[in-house]
Symmetry: D2
Subunit: 288 residues, 4 copies
Amino acid sequence: MRPAVITPMVTPFNPDGSISLEMTESLISNMKKFRVDGAFPMGSTGVFPWITAEERLKFLQFVAENAGGMDLYAGVASPCVEDAIGMASRSEDMGYDFAVLPPPYYIKPGDEGLREYYSKILGSVDIKFLIYNIPQFTGYYIPFKVLENLAIQNSNFVGIKDSSGDIRYHERLLRLKTRAFSLYQGQDDLFLQSVLLGSDGGVCGTTNFAPYVVEMSRLVESGKLQDATSIQSEKINPMIDALKNDDYPSTYYYAFYKSINGNGGYRTPMTRPVNSSTHKIDELLRQV
Amino acid sequence: MRPAVITPMVTPFNPDGSISLEMTESLISNMKKFRVDGAFPMGSTGVFPWITAEERLKFLQFVAENAGGMDLYAGVASPCVEDAIGMASRSEDMGYDFAVLPPPYYIKPGDEGLREYYSKILGSVDIKFLIYNIPQFTGYYIPFKVLENLAIQNSNFVGIKDSSGDIRYHERLLRLKTRAFSLYQGQDDLFLQSVLLGSDGGVCGTTNFAPYVVEMSRLVESGKLQDATSIQSEKINPMIDALKNDDYPSTYYYAFYKSINGNGGYRTPMTRPVNSSTHKIDELLRQV
Amino acid sequence: MRPAVITPMVTPFNPDGSISLEMTESLISNMKKFRVDGAFPMGSTGVFPWITAEERLKFLQFVAENAGGMDLYAGVASPCVEDAIGMASRSEDMGYDFAVLPPPYYIKPGDEGLREYYSKILGSVDIKFLIYNIPQFTGYYIPFKVLENLAIQNSNFVGIKDSSGDIRYHERLLRLKTRAFSLYQGQDDLFLQSVLLGSDGGVCGTTNFAPYVVEMSRLVESGKLQDATSIQSEKINPMIDALKNDDYPSTYYYAFYKSINGNGGYRTPMTRPVNSSTHKIDELLRQV
Amino acid sequence: MRPAVITPMVTPFNPDGSISLEMTESLISNMKKFRVDGAFPMGSTGVFPWITAEERLKFLQFVAENAGGMDLYAGVASPCVEDAIGMASRSEDMGYDFAVLPPPYYIKPGDEGLREYYSKILGSVDIKFLIYNIPQFTGYYIPFKVLENLAIQNSNFVGIKDSSGDIRYHERLLRLKTRAFSLYQGQDDLFLQSVLLGSDGGVCGTTNFAPYVVEMSRLVESGKLQDATSIQSEKINPMIDALKNDDYPSTYYYAFYKSINGNGGYRTPMTRPVNSSTHKIDELLRQV
């Protein structure tokens, strides 16, 4: 089976920091051209914490209306139970297939509190949920025993997006499969290794502006592992190295704007990557 | 001069998780009885991330109306510039003297983005601001050069609350004083050492249910350092050790409810501390 | 080509903590039976820091004389340049093919100091060297630029053992190949992924008592990736999970002693794993 | 009582990296001129890991013979029980009053193993021992319960040197005093705060080249806390900031050599601090 490729969408901004729906159309065009399988607005790459609730909902609505044909994943993150329920419920109404939910950040809850957090939210909305492990931002890994418990008790917990970059945690997630949930790799440079281990696909930021991960996915499907490995090593990994030369996720925004020749902006506290960081990105984008 | 003591207020909950204004009155009574100098609702101890925007404003309003005589510090945290401006502006309207603002959390901005974040917010609302350093929750320290730059450019940046627990960072904050901002220690067990170094006071969680820090402050004022040291070592530090036996800040809630004989609740994802953790707290509270 | 499998040998102890050459013979028998390619005494698994210089040399000598047919890798770690040179020189005299050298630990040197450390040692002894990256114990990663510089200037720097467990660092090591050095994975549970990425083999602790990694290596050679993946997932990774249930490397000693029905000891500061940790190891060893 | 001040001695090197006994005499002159209370050769500042066993013993002997009048503390660190016993025993023979022993580094032992490590060594040599907590280099804190157990069982465990820089851990060490052991602060910039909390003194690297900490100690003795605070804030802390501008402990060596106008060297893997780091040190040394 071909591994799924989902785009964690940037939220295109005008130079004044307001959201640009026009550039969002260009982004969706990119994604259709690359033939990605799913659209995921208002994730970390979409800088949801820097965006008002009203804007989030408006953007989710716009993507739902314009990304026809793709699976729709709504970012519904909030440490506040009531807010997360509201966001998930509204997303369901808009036609989203899935809601993606990281654990509460800022203050780390205990295991039992974390379990209650997810149980209350998953028990309140019918939409299918992906749980989102991203310790770089939340400060902690979601414990296996919490995931196992949730998998048993919540039939609408259907998947995990793991962006930890820790391939051992990822591999253990595959082994603990207490029931059928899907697993997605959130790091482009670990995509191939993860699907070879058994992951169902990836949520890959470079698909905002480059088709590489989709190409790899097709090569995996047709058994051309050697060619897929070449793309991973020669195209994606150097790109990821270059994207890490400045603050996340400003380089993804820069690369996306460049890919559509757009005059895009950087909402505060994001700033344009410095020139020494963009040089290498420019060079790699010319090869796309 | 007597060091200031500010209470980072718990947000009292009913057993069903809704906010209890009745127990909030009891909390304010505690604070008046202990003679704390300032009231700080909707900080980390107030679990602001787990509370809706509407509830936050309502609670801020209630405290403003009932904590007369104390300095008023409003927690206005949001990684979103527009939301933080809105919260600070509303707090000013309610009569708050200060707004307390941690840096953006979840995604860590670069230094220039961080400076812009604060500049935009401080430049948009006239209220006086305390910047809040709490790397345990945000994932990073606020760099000195950002603080120095902000101190020069923003006349309404009047203070720092440092909850890092890192006495060296705290001491360097005192030395970098490029202009007159106040410095407050956010950790009860470092209160005495910090004011002896030159800090202006503390934002101390135990003042939700115990008068110790205020007592210490008065002893410092009258030069009785030996007695102050005894309180720090024999009363406060053992209490802090006991409070760390379970998830923050659930033990502060437990101790507060106990101090008013209240039937309080724990909003998800917070859970009641387990019995093995509360035993020691009970014992220490009996000595208050 | 078949990926190499090297055993980072435990140092068998008698119950009184002295080294048992008799059990060392049993260990070498295990390794020959499993058909590992290389013997690596006095590495981290061999607890070199807890062993006197005299004992180290005696043990190295014994292995050199008894592990005929295998490639010989000598652990020559010392933060002291002169001691490392002495150890490498003596190992060369004993017939070792390679010397394995981690960077200075306890105090972290700067990059230039680190480069000088390796340059002096590699420039003083003709033996071929493997550089050993193990940030868990040294406190830091060996920077890429140091490795690149050393690779250019030292013809007897022929390989890297990377035990970081960080698959991205490992993959970048493959890409930075400024010249032909070999790369070995030091973590059993990342063996298969690493050789699929291009690594030359593994230094795998489970080969002290189980043949699994060698079996995987043979399956990789014959293109049976599916079968290799099964061994990795079903045999090795659960074993590694079980070995992590108590202090490293005491569980490896326990498992080895069990595999030879030996009455082995644990040199201070190592202690026998507690019974709750050994239960799962026992169960898995019965399936070997 | 006047807090004790002990010098963790640099090991003076000639430009070729060999040990200079001539500059060691100059160092001891510095220490006598500053009136420090104790001499501590072969600690971390003395870069013991980079020095052969033979050189260590020779240097310890030289200091014992030339530092008359000061208390003598011998650095006897080794993760190997037998080596540590040997070093402590030889130090006792040389006339040292105390042996200073950090826990095993590189591989972290379990709590029981750590207790056994200390018990075996302290039980084998009559010399009084200071246990040395330095998590920056060992990778872990010595657990309180291990210290409590050792304090009960070993009458020659007489003190702790705590270089963690964690004032809370330090303060808890004071409170856990299950019996009379002394506590010394290993960080110059925390000296004053620690002795005010109750510590018995400090092991302070700046006393290799500056008298400040001793001056502070005398001011504390005579109750002039304000003056002591000025030295801490205006002299010591800026010096410590400057010393941190390059790799530890190369800046301490640079400052010492400068203080005696000596042409000193840097044993590999230490390198001379770069000029941008030494500029500030030069400036501060001119004020000594």
